[in-house]
Amino acid sequence: MAPDSKLMTLAEAVSRFVPDGSSVVAGTALESFIPFAAGREIIRQRKRDLTLIGPISDILFDQLIGAGCVRRVRAAWVGNVITGSGYNFRRAVEDGALEIEDHSNLTLALALRAAAMGVPFMPARTALGSDLFKTNANLKTMICPFTGDTLTAVAAIAPDVAIVHVQRADEYGNAHAWGNLGVTREACLASRHIIITAEEIVAHDVITSDPNRVITPGFRVSAVAHASWGAHPSPVPGYYNRDHQAFLDYQESSQTPEAFAQWQARWVDGARSDKDYLALLGEKRVAGLRLKHHAPAEAVDYGY
């Protein structure tokens, strides 16, 4: 018997699974696969009091903060990878408008891994001697009961929802991603709900033809939404390159609240569908981001 379809619009997925006040892990593959389309939808729906969780997020978190959606951030880094500071983030922290829990990439990965494993914490050797302990109450030092070594105990983080962009998924939530995965697998298993946004919705048989490429079991997924170019301006292996210009432009667009309001009016509220967004980008720019060199992998045999 086929399971129920979880396919819905991105608007419905965000409306149902990202209520005000929820904790959201996103940007889990670091520089790539960033679910920007979902971020724009969260902004359009004027979500409030979110907790954002992630390793670096590039400018995704900065956008959500600038739009007033965020109360708390639990992350290793928030900014604009090729230019430096995220100005909305910086302003909000300096004004005391955000609650911050400082992580490193490894402590964030382990916090999600702990939740994914169903244990209250994971031990680590990182962060010792750093001041992360001063601005993150979920890191404590501990003595290893076996070796006597000093370790960092990283408390589990179990987000309400993971938002993950992938290349392709079936309607039941089975999703293929290939490329660098960052903390994607831990994030999915750690979260109560998972929203998958996918470049393409494909038949179930396509997914089960290559089960090693599935990021998390479909039964854990709550929603699947088709989002073509859904990670732009970040890259998606096999689909499109990184749009560096968008990140450079964003530096200026976030420098003042007024400039950010203009950015939001144009790129978020002014482009309500994938189609509007692509039209705004323009054909020439879109064509310039498509792959120039294809490099398909050798097929593998899962026969018996």
């Binding site: 880094w77 490894l106 990182t126 962060a127 750093s130 992360l132 660098n180 995965l181 960052g182």
Partner: protein, 276 residues
């Protein structure tokens, strides 16, 4: 640098200092990348950070370190330089013909096991024992400027066998004691890393817009090792916020060779990272 500690794009600071100090020969950033590349030994496992180190690794692979292995925090291991210029480690050319695409936890595991020889980190503020702040200028209770945070920098500084710091040399950045330790150096001196439980490592080199600094093996204090061509020891001293120790014999940092410059310019054709 790593992983993204730096508050702003290094190229900008280099430009602020003095326009084209080396005339049309090369830029300060090119000299810094060449110096960074030379810190990589052939066969090293290198945890490659953001920005200039992306180029430093490309350069080392094409010159003296063809057998170096690159590890990237988003879950990439590769044994060949990316075939085209890249701006971030997630750019698709950096995935092409990688030797491993994996999870952040996997590559951080290599780091925790002690299998990473060298890593690169950028800093906004550094102190005399090589502690780095990329989080809070003014400290968390009296925030003057919020910077992006650790990214992987704290992990690299704690767990690589050695790490190299790359940053602009300005008095406001070179302070006696950082306002917040994002990425640990030698803490308050010899024995500190062992006391807090760090298993190994520490900063070996600081590459700045003016000079190369290393650490006294006894006291773990930063020490001037070489000045870049045209930079006087006094220039370095007056841009450092404490009485900097000077090595017995300060040398001149070797300028980038023509071969190094031509490779660098191939991987940064528009001078995005290394232009003045």
């Amino acid at each position: 640098m790593d992983t993204k500690g730096e508050g702003e794009h290094v190229g900008e600071h280099v430009g602020e200092r003095k326009a084209r100090p080396y005339g049309d020969l090369y830029t300060a950033a090119e000299l810094m990348v060449a110096a960074a590349a030379r810190e990589i030994k052939d066969g090293d496992v290198v945890f490659v950070g953001m920005r200039l180190p992306l180029l430093g690794f490309q350069l080392a692979k094409h010159t003296h370190a063809p057998n170096a292995v690159g590890v990237y925090e988003l879950g990439i291991v590769r044994d060949a330089a990316a075939p085209e210029p890249i701006f971030t480690m997630g750019d698709l050319p950096n995935l092409h013909r990688a030797t491993w695409l994996a999870d952040t936890g996997d590559v951080m595991g290599l780091l925790q096991q002690g299998l990473v020889d060298v890593s690169f980190i950028g800093g906004a503020q550094v102190d005399r024992f090589g502690n780095l702040n990329t989080s809070y200028i003014g400290g968390p209770d009296k925030i003057e400027t919020r910077l992006p945070g650790s990214g992987g920098a704290c992990d690299l500084a704690g767990l690589a066998r050695r790490h190299i710091i790359i940053m602009a040399h300005e008095k406001r950045r070179f302070v006696p004691k950082v306002d917040y330790i994002t990425s640990p150096g030698y803490g308050d001196g010899a024995g500190w890393r062992e006391r807090v439980g760090l298993p190994r490592g520490g900063p070996s080199t600081v590459i700045t817009t003016f000079a190369i600094l290393r650490f006294d093996p006894e006291t773990r204090e930063m020490m001037l090792s070489s000045t870049h061509p045209g930079v006087a020891v006094e220039d370095v001293m007056s841009n450092t916020g404490w009485p900097l120790k000077v090595a017995a014999s300060v040398t001149e940092t070797p300028a980038p060779t023509e071969d190094e410059l031509s490779i660098l310019r191939r991987f940064d054709p528009q001078g995005f990272w290394t232009g003045v």
